[in-house]
Symmetry: C2
Subunit: 429 residues, 2 copies
């Protein structure tokens, strides 16, 4: 754990930014090959890679999860847990429904401008397999697409060698509203969704987390299809004052640290006593955790406690770090909130720990990482909408202004542009 005094975060920010910026030339080469193969050879390449990497001997029939498999999943999962998934899905739907938007029209005599807002037609949601399979991410990616009105949502997730997906993932997919579930993963799944194959229709956008191969593949196909952000390692920044409860903060810290060795936990407080109390609690509680090794490694790498001059400086530090998750873990968070400019999701008070947002409350847990909250936003319905503008002028309205259009175009040296305006009112020659 690093202990800093004062608000100079330059070195810390540099270290955070460098997380996960290792050399990935080897993976890039593998990904480029896979993308090219699936693009040119379609299903045959997709199936071959799936057999090779997942051990699953897939074909065009076994590619898709069947209704029977979904029903079997519902019979496997604890009914109480299914109820939790349902309630969480309802909360997510309710919050995201508030993000829906309408277009507009701007009318004047003879003139009509508008903005049309439409859902994307077909979207692919990637869901990692194996240990990193998080059914909550299934909800967080699919529900905003569903609320946006996306016509067809394909979920792709690598199966085990027997072609099985985790039952809770299937339940989450059904509750969220996935239209089809494909048993494919890795760069080959991204390629199939981006380019289309005989069995997989091409999508308009791919969202969802994945390992380095998935991330590189998404970056590479961007432009061909839309993608969500390429997520970096996760982080939480907690601001505490004298009303904060060290046990709570320590537990929140550790919940972030269990993700992986790159996860960053930062405590910022003007109270040196609080800093000490939280640190003591962290070491005490860490011993009790099942993922102890990961937790200690993460704390050693990026665990940071910053003692600031005052709350104002604490807010400045948060704004400069622009954390993915920000907890204002104190009684009087209202005084501090207006000072916060940059954060993905903000958790207010003593009883809104990060897992409440990760799993249940309704806000999205796909958040801008690594300082990108300065300019980007949580995953939302907007990510599954696109806009078009329209413009209509009638003859009279255009007659009033065409010489201005002509003048502006000529001023830029674009004479054919000028002519396209002027020809509307020229005699035929």
């Amino acid at each position: 754990m690093i202990r800093l005094c004062g608000g100079d975060t330059k070195e810390l920010k540099k270290r955070l930014l460098e997380r996960g910026q290792g050399d990935c030339a080897a993976q890039q080469k593998a990904v480029d090959e896979i993308l090219a193969a699936v693009k040119t050879r379609g299903d045959s390449a997709l199936f071959a890679y799936t057999k090779r990497f997942d051990g699953f001997d897939v074909n065009e029939t076994t590619l898709y999860v069947t209704e029977e498999e979904i029903q079997a999943a519902y019979e496997t999962v604890d009914p109480a847990l299914i109820e939790v998934v349902r309630e969480s899905a309802r909360n997510i739907e309710e919050y995201h429904a508030r993000q829906k938007r309408e277009g507009f029209a701007l009318e004047k005599p003879g003139i009509r401008l508008s903005q049309i807002i439409r859902p994307l037609r077909r979207v692919g949601v990637y869901v990692p397999g194996g240990k990193a399979s998080y059914p909550s991410s299934v909800l967080m990616n699919i529900i905003p697409a569903k609320v946006a009105g996306v016509e067809e949502i394909l979920m792709a997730s690598p199966a085990d060698k027997n072609g099985k997906l985790p039952p809770l993932t299937l339940v989450a997919a059904r509750e969220a509203g996935a239209d089809k579930i494909l048993k494919i993963g890795g760069a080959q799944a991204v390629a199939a969704l981006a380019f289309g194959t005989e069995s997989v229709p091409r999508v308009d956008k791919i969202t969802g987390p994945g390992n380095i191969y998935v991330a590189l593949a998404k970056k590479a196909v961007f432009g061909q299809v839309g993608i969500d952000m390429v997520a970096g390692p996760s982080e939480v920044l907690v601001i505490a004052d004298d009303t904060s409860i060290p046990r709570f903060i320590a537990a929140d810290f550790l919940s972030q640290a269990e993700h992986d060795e790159m996860a960053a936990c930062i405590l910022v407080t003007p109270s040196a006593a609080m800093a000490d109390a939280v640190e003591a609690e962290i070491w005490r509680q860490a011993e009790l955790l099942s993922k102890k090794e990961t937790v200690f490694q993460s704390l050693e790498n990026y665990g940071t406690i910053i003692v600031t001059k005052d709350m104002e400086e604490a807010a400045d530090v948060a704004n400069r770090i622009a954390p993915e998750h920000l907890e204002l873990c104190m009684d009087d968070f209202e005084a501090l909130l207006p000072r916060i400019q940059n954060a993905g999701s903000i958790f207010l008070g003593q009883y809104a720990p990060e897992p409440l947002g990760d799993y249940f409350a309704g806000t999205n847990h796909v958040l801008p990482t690594n300082g990108t909250a300065r300019f980007s936003s949580p995953l939302s319905v907007d990510d599954f909408l696109k806009k078009s503008s329209t413009l209509y002028y009638d003859r009279d309205a255009f007659y009033q202004v065409y010489k201005k259009v002509e003048a502006f175009a000529n001023a830029e040296g674009l004479t054919a542009h000028a002519r396209s305006a002027a020809i509307r009112f020229e005699e035929e020659t």
Copy 2:
């Protein structure tokens, strides 16, 4: 010019997508060097590159355009043209003001979720120099940022060797509301805006068009700062029927073709007679143009006329191409519009040629190119806003649900997450 029959656009789409996908390893290498130099050496590298590439021996004083220079520009430009720029700016502001959005709050007893929407704090707008200097792009990039409420808008544009920028560019910058204008360009300007130097403050997002060096630099700094789209070559698709006026369509075609040799013009019509008439007009009018050579090259490369079975097939072609500009250049465009799914900006009727939107009407002319209208949108106020979510539960509200959060976290094997929920209601141990 290519003539196609029927709606099979596979080959055409492939050719359009391949535009501008040449090898740029040499430029990439140069850009990487420039970015690294400006990142580590700041002003001294920025000034050295500016001298080398623009011939302008800049320093920390001459870097910024002065009030005197702006006033001088106003005295140079034709007052009638200034009036046109003003009217255009007002139209753009009026349209984009309708895009402004409010956040929301979702309240239940003991629970409050919200979405906060805020402007980015500082934005950099890149404006190409030399022949590609388009004052209209200054308006189109800066005004949406201004409407969004961005606190500080820096415009960067390469000056000539005497440190001069085109007067009309300065006028457009002032009318649009640029806060500072920097006489820098190329990858070194992008680097300065992304990383900051002694004289240039770091921005949160960089928008605006540029040459291959600027485009590669923007791609490279993405993540460090936000960027707008990396624009590809431009295209227009015109749908015509028997009511269309060949002279108008031909002129609109040619206005697109004058941009560069990569620009693509596509006519789609179920009327073979209309196709013939437009083509004849195109060749006739092309002879009269000042940028004849570019126009002929562009028509030869990508000029395409597609005769479809009917209007329905014409709309399908448009949706598959997803053009940057779509003109429904006919009397009864209302019947066709609802069939259009994918297009950046849609020009309706006989008197709304593309230049009306490029310069004047108020919609944005920064549009998704090369088929990306399937999933992306015209530049808008949204591009200069970011969202954060907040969540608050009081003790009672969290008590009602914490076991559900715990259960979901445990189901994913994230036991420290589960503990962070449970610890709130455990006795102190």
